[in-house]
Symmetry: C2
């Protein structure tokens, strides 16, 4: 199989495959005419990389999985090094989700506060001598 077919079957592009090879994640065997040539094992490697990429793993983080497969082990995550990456990633995900959740709450608070302020201004505007309308409609620039 040549690079185009490998890429298509792996759900990516030839350019990406060459890039993975440049990182040493995929082999660079050549056939007589100089074309890269791949077998089903290589497709497994590529699919392992893609799966992890879809999980948000960086390419370097896929290396233990790839090396595990290349060592002939049954799965890319048969090795302790791969399990360690899983665990580290779980920690990172939890931390990130926690941060994002906290930020979400803060942004929701800000929105609520700003809407409340806006409504109060609108209520005052209902009475004579109330404040001017909102932004874009004019303001007292400094």
């Amino acid at each position: 199989m040549r690079i185009g077919e490998l890429a298509a079957r792996g759900g990516t592009t030839a350019r990406a495959v060459r890039y993975y090879e440049s990182l040493g994640l995929l082999p660079g065997r050549r056939s007589g005419n100089g074309y890269r040539t791949y077998d089903e094992d290589d497709l497994r490697l590529l699919r392992q990389i893609r799966t992890l990429q879809d999980f948000g793993f960086g390419l370097e983080e896929t290396r233990p999985f790839v090396e595990c497969l290349r060592a002939g082990h049954p799965e890319g995550d048969s090795c302790p090094a791969s399990l360690a990456v899983y665990r580290r990633k779980l920690g990172e995900l939890d931390a990130l989700i926690g941060e994002l959740t906290a930020v979400r709450a803060q942004v929701a608070d800000q929105l609520a506060r700003a809407e409340r302020a806006r409504d109060e201004l609108a209520a005052e505007a209902g009475v004579p001598g109330g404040p001017e309308p909102e932004c874009e409609l004019g303001g007292r620039a400094t």
Copy 2:
């Protein structure tokens, strides 16, 4: 106040301040000697930018808030445009948190499955004729 003091009081660097100015987020007033000069209002602008940055907003997303403040409105989020950014961001955060949570679950599944497979191999290894040890300890490369 000159750029160094502004940056320090705003919790950032002079380089960042110049960058914000290049985007039109901060003014570029100069004093006689060519130095940039700032007042307390500018510090409010900078702090508004930093706060939103800490929330993960892109600099372009801070523009409505900054323009609102520069228009003399009481808060950066007094304008509908700012509120719209808040709401859009809430949606993005919810989407992102959802994706990350789903990924977290998948990674946890993978980890559990891999650990189970490892333990099964270890159990079989306890009996004679069991499989070889894990990765890095040897494998039948292809």
